[in-house]
């Protein structure tokens, strides 16, 4: 860019967050920082003797610059008991006096490294009222115990924010915690492992002996095995039995049915053998089997733990809004209490909570998230401002015209496309496979029994043996272990998948539809000169540096520009003028510049630049393309059909068209995008939609797989199948390759388990399925599948990362 040629580049990194200090940053006695926010946090920590925080290699802090100006009373909602309820949890019984402790759990999306944990767990050094804090790095939460008589909940949230960890308060009541489910799995696993290990010991004497043991011993071991196996059936295997029961009650056959059938057959036949004294049964194999099945669940659980998706459109809106209470007082009011007709004050960076009309002469609203439009929109007095827009530049007064729940934002969120009617492919396949498998197994069991018929005992034995050995345990293990491992690999690479089945959806994609703003482009918006000489552009940038307006900041850029500025006058929401190096410079809206130059200015999107009373050119806002996105598009178009659908006016269509072979469409409304994806799918394509913002939400939900791009963990994620970090978008070809590999691994595991099953069926039908053969065959097949699935996936993951 020519603008940097004549500007000295000053690059130092912030002591707090490690970001480059734009324009030299902020200097203090502690060093150099990128912004006042970072300097404040550093000073606070140094003052409390907490500067060990900065002892690690990379500056661990969270940049306070991008967060934008924040309001001091943004946590006022926590004074409301109903809101506080969402945060308070696990509080000890209410006491009085100095012992009254409360416990709160905060979501802190910026919690990301060991230094964060170190600092957050030393919160008690920041404030006396805080007794103890415990961070959870995986789930990004902090649990804080504090003294109620010293500190309010709101003050605790403010303390967290003061050291740079802005807590996120859920807009709605937290959904049921995942903790009980995780704990239950561990108990089930522990019990099954315990039983399997002990039963193996009780069974070995008989296997080693090769002949029945002394009756007294055998009776003792049988009794012990029964005592151990029964809780395994009830507690550890309970989920499969209940799952199968639910499926049967609903008239469906899932893969749970043959598993439950096999487990029950195993248990029932063992009990019958022990009761009749016919033999020792297969209880050791039974417990081992349940143990391995649970290990498959554990893989799945681990993958889920990394990812928390419980956002709704409410998490996008502020918790409280300042409502006019008369006498010029703005009262912080919980969002639910805001009614049409209320006059509200919104400060910069705040989101318009409901459709409203502007009460000020002019204001700037950024709809990037709702419509995908890059440039902020200027609205005039009395104009409608839609919910979801973000206030830019300066505070605005608005009058609410619609109920919070009846806004465009909420309507889009409730769009039928969001409630995924399409059944995930895997459930579908597993269901059909389960039905087929159950039918085949039952048929084979009956056929086996018939073949042995006159011999009733032998017939019963063969039938139960078929049910036991055909239990598709290895099959049930293959998918969760492979997909769980794949989810972990993809997560580390920046693609967070909601459901294991989504990995399979990704592997089958043949058409990829991209959004532009925020997907192909990312990072801070940059201004580009149009029709301006480098000298004129330098004057404009120097003047823009005097203003705090986001457009001005984008024009000023990250580097320092020399020049003396005088007599600056800023008209909020319109523009700024002043003298730079003795030249009169004005930048602003076409109307603003036209009024100054006395000549009409064409109304195009952009910021007009006039020098010495004449219009010289424009500054156009552009979002830079993500690094490496071009080569990623080239690679993707080799294997798939790529499309670009953008909501904006296509000013840079020529830059993108070559990568899409001309398959680009601009000015696409959310409904256009949705219709396009649906049309492609009807034409037989398997569509991957990738986009950010609410304008893509319908298309994301309608596609076979929808990826939401998020540069910010705190950003709202509309109905989608997976979230991809902005930095990971250029890695999409490699990520899709991992998904395709995962599918091949599953097929391989299926093949291996079929070999085992055929082997076992051969033994079962000929009546030679002995307890020893079962005790060897079943764990070995489960172990092979687990080892193969996890091992192959890890190897693929390592190779993909190395590539």
């Amino acid at each position: 860019m020519e603008a940097t040629l004549d500007a000295p580049i000053v690059l130092t990194t912030c002591r707090h967050c490690g970001d480059p200090c734009a324009g030299g940053g902020v200097r203090s006695s502690h060093g150099r920082f990128c912004c006042d926010g970072c300097a404040t946090v550093f000073a606070l920590l140094a003052d409390r003797g907490l500067d060990d925080y900065y002892a690690c290699d990379v500056a661990p802090g969270v940049s306070q610059r991008t967060a934008g100006p924040r309001e001091a009373d943004r946590f006022a909602a926590l004074d409301d008991p109903a809101v506080a309820e969402r945060v308070l949890g696990g509080a000890p019984p209410d006491g009085t006096g100095a012992g009254a402790l409360a416990c709160a759990v905060f979501d802190v999306p910026s919690l990301h490294c060991a230094s964060c944990v170190w600092l957050l767990e030393r919160l008690w050094q920041v404030d006396d009222g805080i007794v103890r804090a415990e961070a959870d790095l995986l789930r990004r939460t902090v649990q804080v115990w504090f003294r109620r008589d010293h500190l309010s909940l709101r003050a605790v949230a403010e303390r967290l924010a003061s050291i740079g960890y802005e807590p996120e308060i859920a807009g709605e009541t937290r959904q049921g915690a995942a903790t009980p489910a995780r704990r239950r799995l561990y108990v089930q696993l522990g019990l099954a492992g315990f039983a399997a290990g002990n039963m193996m010991i009780f069974s070995i004497p008989r296997y080693a002996n090769g002949a029945p043991l002394e009756p007294a011993f055998q009776a003792l071991f049988d009794a012990l095995n029964l005592v151990l196996a029964t809780p395994v059936l009830i507690v550890s295997a309970g989920d499969w039995l209940r799952g199968a029961w639910r499926a049967l009650a609903a008239g469906r056959l899932t893969l749970d049915v043959p598993v439950a059938l096999g487990l029950l057959a195993l248990y029932a036949r063992s009990v019958a053998e022990i009761a009749t004294g016919a033999g020792p049964g297969f209880l050791d194999a039974f417990a081992g089997l349940v143990f391995f099945l649970l290990i498959g669940r554990l893989f799945q659980q681990k993958a889920f733990d990394r990812i928390a998706f419980d956002r709704t459109w409410r998490s996008f809106l502020p918790l409280t809004v300042r409502v006019a209470a008369g006498d010029g007082v703005w009262q912080a009011t919980p969002l639910d209490d805001v009614r049409p007709g209320d006059r509200v004050l919104l400060r910069p960076q705040e989101v318009v909570p409901a459709d409203a009309r502007l009460l000020d002469a002019t204001g700037t609203i950024d709809y990037a998230f709702v419509t995908g439009e890059t440039s902020p929109v200027i609205v005039g007095d009395g104009e409608l401002v839609r919910a979801g827009g973000r206030v830019v530049g300066r505070a605005l007064r608005l009058v609410i015209v619609a109920e919070i729940h009846h806004t465009e934002l909420a309507r889009l969120w409730r769009h039928p496309a969001f409630t995924r009617a399409t059944q995930p492919w895997l459930t579908d396949v597993a269901g059909r496979f389960g039905a087929w498998f159950t039918a085949a197994t039952l048929l084979l069991a009956v056929a086996g029994a018939a073949a042995w018929w006159p011999d009733a005992a032998m017939a019963a034995q063969v039938a139960s043996a078929v049910l036991i050995i055909a239990c598709p345990c290895a099959l049930t293990l293959a998918a969760p272990v492979t997909l769980g491992t794949a989810m972990g690999i993809l997560g580390r690479a920046g693609l967070y998948v909601k459901q294991p089945a989504v990995v399979l959806d990704l592997s089958r994609v043949d058409t990829i539809v991209f959004d532009k703003t925020g997907t192909l482009t990312g990072g801070a918006r940059r201004a580009e000169p149009v029709d301006l000489t480098p000298y004129e552009w330098r004057l404009a940038r120097r003047l823009a540096a005097e203003s705090a307006h986001p457009i001005s900041r984008a024009i000023a850029g990250d580097t320092v520009v020399d020049g003396t500025v005088a007599e600056t006058i800023e008209t909020p929401g319109a523009g700024i003028r002043g003298t730079v190096d003795h030249r009169t410079v004005a930048i602003g809206t076409p109307a603003f510049v036209a009024a100054l130059t006395g000549r009409p200015v064409p109304a195009v999107t952009g910021t007009a630049v006039a020098i010495d009373g004449r219009l010289r050119g424009w500054a156009r806002l552009a979002a830079p393309a993500r690094r490496g996105i071009e080569s990623a598009l080239v690679r993707l178009s080799g294997t798939t059909t790529v499309w670009l659908l953008s909501g904006d006016d296509g000013a840079d269509a020529d830059d993108w068209a070559p990568f899409f072979g001309g398959r680009v469409r601009f000015r696409q409304s959310p409904d256009d995008k949705l219709a396009f994806v649906e049309a492609r799918r009807r034409a037989g394509a398997r569509v991957l939609m990738i986009g950010d913002g609410l304008n893509d939400a319908g298309a994301l939900a309608a596609a076979d797989a929808g990826l939401a791009v998020s540069d910010d963990t705190a950003c709202l994620v509309p109905a989608c199948d997976a979230v991809i970090g902005g930095d990971a978008v250029p890695r999409l070809p490699a990520l899709l390759a991992i998904a395709r590999r995962a599918r091949q691994v599953i097929v391989l595991c299926f093949a291996v388990s079929v070999v085992y099953n055929v082997l076992g069926l051969g033994l079962a039908l000929t009546g030679r399925l002995t307890p020893l053969a079962t005790a060897v065959l079943m764990p070995v097949s489960s172990l092979t599948v687990i080892g193969l699935a996890a091992g192959a996936m890890r190897w693929i993951g390592r190779k993909a990362v190395a590539a």
Partner: protein
């Protein structure tokens, strides 16, 4: 024979004790977070440079 029965009973008791301890550990939340404690052990304890006012600093409330 009776010796083996005795041994099995003793072994079962010990193993059962461990199972009970495991279930207790899971229920009391010790398996809820398996990532952060691994980091926590690496932090050095350094006394804060500024002296702080009274108050139980290391009070360990139970949830």
């Amino acid at each position: 024979m009776s010796v083996i029965v005795l041994l099995i009973a003793a072994g079962g008791l010990v193993a059962g004790g461990f199972l009970a301890a495991f279930v207790w550990a899971v229920r009391s939340g010790q398996f809820d977070d398996t990532t952060t404690p691994a980091l926590r052990i690496l932090f050095d304890d350094r006394r804060p440079t500024t002296t702080r006012s009274e108050g139980p600093r290391h009070a360990q409330p139970r949830s």
